[in-house]
Assembly symmetry: C2
Homo-oligomer: 226 residues x 2
């Protein structure tokens, strides 16, 4: 007769922060994630990063090649996605339930993402109605780490020159919807960012060969797929 003892996989907050940072940097550039990139993102010195990368490699969370950066292993990716899932679910909770603005949730979500409780995560997801996107429009991984297909962004997050297709609206007040109707903006509308004013972040967008000015308030409330 055999007795199996399960060691719960537990990582420190710091290890989780590194995994998440590697995950995000991996999205941006291909190839290994550099020590300096992590050092900058995590606001620690390069020497500290090197030390941690060796530890993560020892735990089989990353593949680490001296001087050539790291990449998440499957195991590392799985855990990184759980942290991202928790982070985005909490952001959704803070905005939807606790009257936070979508630009003041990050710091608190950074703390909440480390709370360990599988039941908590699943029940929170259920309570919130299994949202697909967080308040920034970023996709929320599901229980198995799967991301919804086409992540929506806010129009205000596009850069000058980028194009997008209108996918939804955050403010559903009739005054906002009337405003959209007047500008002939609806679901499926194609648009291109022509210009962004730096002083008030208002935009000029090209829709159907017409130049339309939109305030930051408006562009924050329009979701696009790019």
């Amino acid at each position: 007769m055999y007795i199996y003892i399960l060691f719960e996989i537990m990582f420190t907050q710091s290890e989780e922060n590194y995994l998440k940072a590697i995950f995000h940097l991996q999205q941006e550039v291909e190839g290994g994630v550099s020590t300096s990139g992590l050092s900058e993102k995590l606001k620690t010195k390069a020497a500290s990063v090197t030390e941690m990368l060796k530890r993560l490699a020892g735990k089989k969370l990353v593949d680490y090649q001296k001087y050539y950066g790291v990449q998440l292993t499957d195991k590392g990716m799985q855990h990184a996605l759980l942290i991202v899932r928790k982070h985005r679910l909490w952001e959704y909770f803070l905005v939807e339930c606790l009257n936070f603005n979508w630009d003041e949730v990050h710091e608190v979500a950074e703390q909440l993402e480390h709370i360990r409780s599988p039941k908590l995560v699943e029940e929170l997801d259920l309570f919130l109605g299994r949202p697909q996107y967080d308040p920034h429009g970023d996709p929320i991984p599901d229980t198995n780490g799967k991301l919804p297909k086409s992540p929506n962004k806010r129009l205000s997050q596009l850069q000058k020159g980028e194009r997008g297709i209108c996918k939804g609206f955050n403010d559903t007040s009739s005054s906002f919807l009337q405003f959209l109707a007047k500008q002939e903006i609806g679901l499926g509308t194609n648009l291109e960012v022509l210009n962004i004013e730096s002083f008030d972040e208002s935009m000029t967008v090209l829709i159907d060969k017409k130049e339309i000015p939109l305030s930051k308030t408006a562009t924050d409330n329009i979701y696009v797929e790019d």
Copy 2:
């Protein structure tokens, strides 16, 4: 013209755990809280406790007399009450919103109580409807650290021989309320615990000179003031 720079008061999770433990032990016994008491409660060795008590004393959170234990200062008490407030609000949230049973919330609340965000605490309190008692019937300190006057307990938390006055019910299903009516238990009913069966935690209570048997399920759902 003067410029004030505010240093946010920040304590480590460990320091907060010590403050909370001292707070709880202080309620139970008068005089200084002992090193061994804390050592047992926090599951750390006495030597570690001594070390931390010196640190907390240095931060003016406790009054510490070598060999004679500690007591919270006003500053220490204030912060301990904030931790207790957060712990109990989160317990309430877990039970009311996330389908946790009241006996499975503690471990998660132990983690959530360390999340730092004044806005989060106040908004959570508001979202939950400013509850006065947590799911165990323990009082929730308000923003200023004030505890509601007469904390309610569950009937199941009384010891043999203790008396209480019925103050409310958790299960408000008609079947439970009908059961209560049949036993002539209502708000304001005086009762005394005559006996507790150790095998199923059922009780015999004396109400109005009648001996009434109550299951653990029933006594869990009856709130009393003692």
